[in-house]
Symmetry: C2
Subunit: 334 residues, 2 copies
DNA sequence: GTTTGCAATGCAAACGTTTACAATCTAAGC
DNA sequence: GCTTAGATTGTAAACGTTTGCATTGCAAAC
């Protein structure tokens, strides 16, 4: 009962195992009756093709890797779902790799996936330092960046226009009349933050306003961080009456911090986030935010990976897709 | 540059490839100098062992499958993170399979994982109908159920005491003085619901109260469902002033529905959830709920899988772990 | 009744490892 | 210097498939 192989079937059907292989893969050149018998026996024996063996000879595993920094941030599961759906439809499986925002874990996984001979890698990189990734993988395994990507990459990516997003969020607050606007984000070797901050500054410039660097506070991507940073900010004598947080999780932390300081949102401090995670729209929260098409982003990333794989090792497919962010105004700012 | 193998190294080092294999795996019986040279060459050539080939001969892939119904429900990412952490520490990778609550997708994935020859499967089953799963996998691939499990299974599981959880939630509401308490959950071939509902009824019994079946409304596990069901409930002339929702997502939907009906929580309707997802504790939400040790649950499940694998095909490891639920009282009920 | 051509099948190599066993080398013991 | 044991290395089989090529069988065409 342990692991029935193609040979077992061959023996029972009195044919060579090459014929069994052909029959089971519905290849031409096998008599109808023979095929039927073989399939029947395969069924009886509860045969399951060994994808490992097949992978070895066909040099493809029908699987790819998905590297994300934080499965706990609802943004990523949403993207992952898109990827998973697309992959399944095409007959691919995905290795889930959660880096927990640790660079060495990212590297670890890249090596691992390479050893597993995945057909492609979809990665939401932690930072814009991707030399290692690019060096080890380039021209060997197709890579698609998702969510954010180093701008000088040779690889495909599907991202959102983070500068535009940062700009939209900030402009929204400016137009509401705020002239002192805080920025709360993750540490600055992340590309995401780099660009969203750029958008933030762009808006200031466009309206002829000065950026006050002391209003920019950086940490990481966790909710607690938003909470801590806003508290520190509020201690400042002249704290900003509006805050743009780099993602919704941070924004939620900010809101919590504001409330706990005895202030109100948006009365005392207006808050805008980024991502539009499901909870942002929850009536209790009603967070103004920049919406990213998360599911579609994942779906698209898979499409590109598949396209690259199909293309064979021939020419290098390179799609650079930049999606439009959308400002969604809710009650945390008005 | 495309795929350097053990043979390339052997040629360059002037040794047989068996020696290379031994050297790279740090096996005894290879001279220090030889080993050093081989490793050096391997480094230069940027050699990456082919896990597929290795898997074929060693008959293990160092990967296992994780089947969950909904990666979008924050409960599961939390569990997944525990599993991922445990797996990585032990050198295993996980195939993520999201069934989207569809039974045939679950079956599809089970077959797929079997073909991929994963070393084990951790599954949060959709329903208590697992004959197929058990039939196809039993005694071939180690299985560990997580979150909930069929009680008559031969396999290991790590779950929470759902009956107890349902009981705690309901008792809490009873003790607050409510005598008409609604139950909102998923369709009834889910084990989870079966047990939590059992706990609900148990509490009624214990306090000598009658269960009013019209106060029990079933749908699925999505937030919208909670929203829709509570709205239907509120239309009833004598709707319950307290609701136990089978999970936090449903509970959030319930709260939304209550508010939109112009009623307040907990003033008009008290709400208790289940899971304690991160957002339940958010100050805007403050959902009373039954806490599950999600991360630990995942961690434990991996431990068991690993233990089973280590054990070899010798005896059948079977651990049945039932964790204690904990009632966390917040502002959605008091 | 040959030939021709094509469909059906079998044979064997290949994919990149690991590993049992055989062969060789080295150095210690006599 | 010869034996011998132990360490080092090589040979080849195995893992379960796919697939190019050779072989066979059979029917149609001559």
């Amino acid at each position: 009962m342990i692991d029935v192989t193609i040979k077992d079937i061959a023996k029972k059907a009195n044919v060579s195992y090459a014929t069994v292989s052909r029959a089971l893969n519905n290849k031409k050149g096998v008599r109808g009756e023979t095929g039927r018998k073989i399939r029947e026996i395969a069924g009886e024996l509860n045969y399951r093709p060994n994808a490992i063996a097949r992978g070895l000879v066909k040099k493809q595993t029908h699987s790819f890797g998905l590297i994300i920094p934080d499965i706990t941030n609802p943004f990523f599961p949403e993207v992952a779902r898109g990827i998973e759906d697309g992959a399944r439809e095409a007959g691919y499986s995905i290795f889930l790799c959660n880096t927990n925002w640790e660079k060495n874990r990212e590297i670890h996984y890249i090596n691992l996936l390479a050893e597993k001979r995945v057909d492609g890698i979809i990665i939401a990189p932690i930072s814009n330092k991707v030399e290692f990734l690019e060096k080890t993988l380039n021209s060997k395994i197709p890579v698609v960046y998702v969510s954010n990507a180093p701008h000088d990459t040779q690889n495909s990516y599907v991202v959102i226009d983070n500068i535009r997003g940062g700009f939209l969020a900030t402009r929204h607050l400016i137009e509401l009349g705020y002239n002192s606007i805080g920025f709360i984000g993750a540490s600055n070797d992340s590309l995401t933050i780099d660009e969203r901050l750029k958008g933030y500054k762009l808006a200031f410039k466009k309206y002829g306003m000065e950026v006050d660097e002391s209003n920019i506070k950086l940490g990481d991507f966790k909710r607690e961080t938003g909470y801590n940073l806003i508290k520190r900010m509020i201690e400042m004598s002249n704290y900003p009456r509006a805050v743009f947080a780099e993602n919704d999780l941070l924004a939620l932390g900010v809101i919590q911090g504001v409330k706990e300081s005895g202030l109100s949102v948006p009365g005392d401090v207006a808050v805008v986030g980024f991502d539009d995670i499901p909870f942002a729209s929850f009536p209790e929260v009603q967070l103004t935010t920049i919406c990213q098409p998360k599911y579609e982003m994942g779906k698209k990333a898979v499409e590109i990976i598949l396209e690259t794989i199909e293309e064979g090792s021939g020419k290098w497919v390179c799609r650079k897709i930049i999606l439009e962010p959308e400002l969604i105004i809710r009650k945390s700012s008005h």
